[in-house]
């Protein structure tokens, strides 16, 4: 874990300087880091060998929570809105998890997909509550009690996000190293043996599921605040698929990889959107297949290959 913390700290330091030197990268990096939080949620589940094609649901939950709270004119601060988004997502995951964590593999993935598609359809159809397909606008909230102008707000949101990411990565790292986190790996490798030790596999996965939903909720909340707009597409399967894609790209089961993957992804998307918008999913799908076939441990695998060569 120690080299990971060092690496993460160094990466965070470099990231902290970039927007100061190149201001236009602030928003892009904020979005990438926020998405990275959702990806981290997927990584937690991948530890248990499970994949969710429906985490867009929790991402959308965080985003819509912020949108509702802001439009209710409670004048809540961004620093309160973000954890609230995570909290609501966690509560929904705890409730829905009672059902979902009884399943593994295919069923787990597809049931998550089903519930997120239901959420997507409801967000679109309940027009008078959710604004339908147009979504909702999110007015810029105060940040740390201060009402900022657009540029300053974007700058400080970046540092808020970076701090959130640092705290979340640290906590998730600790969690994955704890006995409860280790038990996730046992769910993947041999659940029956885990249960013979007196540990409930379902309960272990339930905790992991709630944590991964909390991360997705926080991520959605940040995006809602930075974008100033939420839409039903947040819960659509394409979004959930992107999370899974980035998790695999960054290296499944790797905390730093989640953020490395999402920054690479965001940069590529910003450039690919210009000339290949119609083939975006094709590009994603093809690279997913290539990664799974040839580098199943993702981009961060390259680092480990080098280390193996040295020893």
């Amino acid at each position: 874990m120690r080299p990971e913390i060092l690496l993460g700290g160094a990466a965070a330091f470099v990231l902290a300087i970039v927007p100061a030197l190149v201001p236009w990268t602030a928003v892009m990096l904020t979005i990438a880091l926020a998405i990275g939080l959702s990806v981290l949620g997927i990584v937690v589940l991948l530890r248990a060998g499970q994949v969710s094609f429906g985490h867009g649901l929790y991402y959308a939950t965080g985003a819509y929570t912020v949108a509702f709270l802001v439009s209710a004119r409670l004048s809540l601060d961004a620093l309160i809105l973000i954890p609230l988004g995570g909290l609501v997502a966690t509560l929904i995951a705890l409730a829905f998890g009672v059902f979902a964590v009884r399943y593994r593999d295919i069923f787990f993935a597809m049931i998550n997909l089903a519930i997120s598609m239901v959420a997507f359809a409801l967000l679109e159809k309940l027009y008078h509550i959710t604004g339908g397909g147009d979504g909702m606008n999110v007015a810029r909230p105060t940040l740390g009690g201060v009402r900022l102008g657009r540029a300053a707000f974007e700058g400080w949101m970046f540092y808020t996000t970076l701090a959130t990411v640092a705290i979340a990565s640290f906590l998730v790292g600790r969690y994955l190293d704890s006995p409860l986190g280790r038990a996730l790996e046992a769910v993947k490798s041999n659940e029956t043996r885990l249960e013979y030790l007196g540990v409930s596999g379902n309960r272990v996965l339930h905790v992991g599921y709630a944590i991964s939903a909390a991360l997705a909720g926080i991520s959605g909340a940040i995006i809602a605040i930075v974008n100033g707009h939420v839409a039903p597409e947040f819960a659509y399967w394409v979004r959930s698929g992107e999370f899974v894609f980035i998790a695999i790209l960054g290296g499944a089961g790797n905390v730093v990889g989640a953020f490395a993957g999402s920054i690479v992804f965001e940069v590529i998307r910003n450039h690919a959107a210009a000339f290949a918008a119609d083939y975006w999913q094709t590009i994603l799908g093809l690279s997913l297949i290539v990664i799974i076939m040839f580098a199943p441990d993702g981009l961060t695998q390259l680092r480990f290959i080098r280390r193996k060569a040295q020893s």
């Binding site: 399943y103 049931i111 089903a114 698929g241 119609d278 799908g285 297949i289």
Partner: protein, 302 residues
């Protein structure tokens, strides 16, 4: 006020819709039973089948041929999609991942699904397609004061029943069916007995894909085709297959009917929640029977 006519109309809609969903779900279930893979791209076969059939329909209309030709064209497009798209997919991709973790198998079919979604948009655009020749040919029938198209009332469910009966017959009473059952049960033992399991896998996948594509081809005569229909159908057919118990073919018919009826009742009574009903049914069933309605108990391996 819910009149008897509304209920009847909902029942007829549900029958026709359930028949379409059955076609996709039964293919999904069959493929899972033999290959042990849930093909996330299965709804894409349905959508592509629909689009190809619609293209044939437009071609036939443009060439001035008899509109009756649209029916064989449907069967043709289903086989075409199953053999060309399904076959390519199995040989090029799925064959390489049978031994791998389920998560990776899911991801690969999910990736295929993403690619196929884009391909549909690239080939057929985003404009809705509608072919009314098969529907118009048969006219309507009057049931208790409701005019209902014979195509949706008879043709679509009839094909679904034919599909169910012939699948059952093939699996239970023919040599091919016995081989497929044997491979389903124990691939290695079947291979040791001289069965070419690789070929059985390919054949099963092509048949499953063709059935889904045929479901789509039938749907092309009744609904307008829009991008994204494949995604919805994948999830819905999974809900049906899961409700029935994955790999259960007769069960899929019952579950498809249940979910089809439930959904169309919701369309008339609470249109906002029509998407919710199929999943509610699935959740309710799975809550009490976690392996599905018609599942057989499996022993756990330590």
């Amino acid at each position: 006020m819910i009149s008897i006519q509304t209920v009847l109309l909902a029942a007829l809609d549900g029958l026709s819709y359930g028949a379409q969903v059955f076609m996709v779900a039964v293919g999904l279930s069959l493929i899972f039973g033999v290959l042990r893979i849930v093909n996330v791209a299965h709804g894409s076969f349905y959508a592509i089948g629909a689009y190809v059939a619609a293209s044939f329909g437009l071609f036939i209309a443009a060439a001035g041929w008899s509109p009756w030709l649209t029916y064989p064209a449907m069967a043709l497009s289903a086989c075409l999609v199953g053999i060309v798209v399904g076959g390519t997919l199995e040989v090029a991709l799925l064959r390489r991942i049978y031994g791998k973790e389920q998560v990776l198998q899911l991801l690969v079919t999910f990736a295929v699904f993403m690619i196929l979604e884009d391909m549909q948009k690239a080939v057929w655009g985003v404009r809705p397609y509608f072919i009314d020749a098969p529907l118009g040919l048969l006219g309507t029938v009057n049931i208790l004061g409701i005019n209902y198209s014979i195509y949706q009332l008879v043709v679509v469910p009839l094909f679904a029943v034919v599909m169910l009966v012939s699948l059952r017959y093939v699996l239970r009473h023919t040599r091919l069916g016995r081989i497929v059952t044997a491979v389903t049960d124990d691939r290695e033992a079947a291979a040791a007995m001289g069965v070419d399991a690789t070929r059985v896998y390919l054949l099963t996948f092509m048949i499953g894909a063709s059935i889904a594509a045929f479901g789509g081809a039938l749907a092309s005569g009744a609904t307008s085709l829009v991008p994204g229909m494949g995604a919805g159908m994948t999830i819905l057919s999974f809900a049906v297959a899961a409700t029935a118990g994955l790999g259960r073919i007769e069960g899929a018919a019952v579950a498809a009917l249940m979910i089809g009826l439930g959904r169309s009742l919701a369309v008339y009574m609470a249109p906002e929640f029509d998407v919710l009903v199929p999943y509610l049914i699935m959740f309710l069933v799975l809550l009490f029977k976690p392996q599905g309605l018609f599942s057989v108990q499996q022993t756990r391996k330590v």
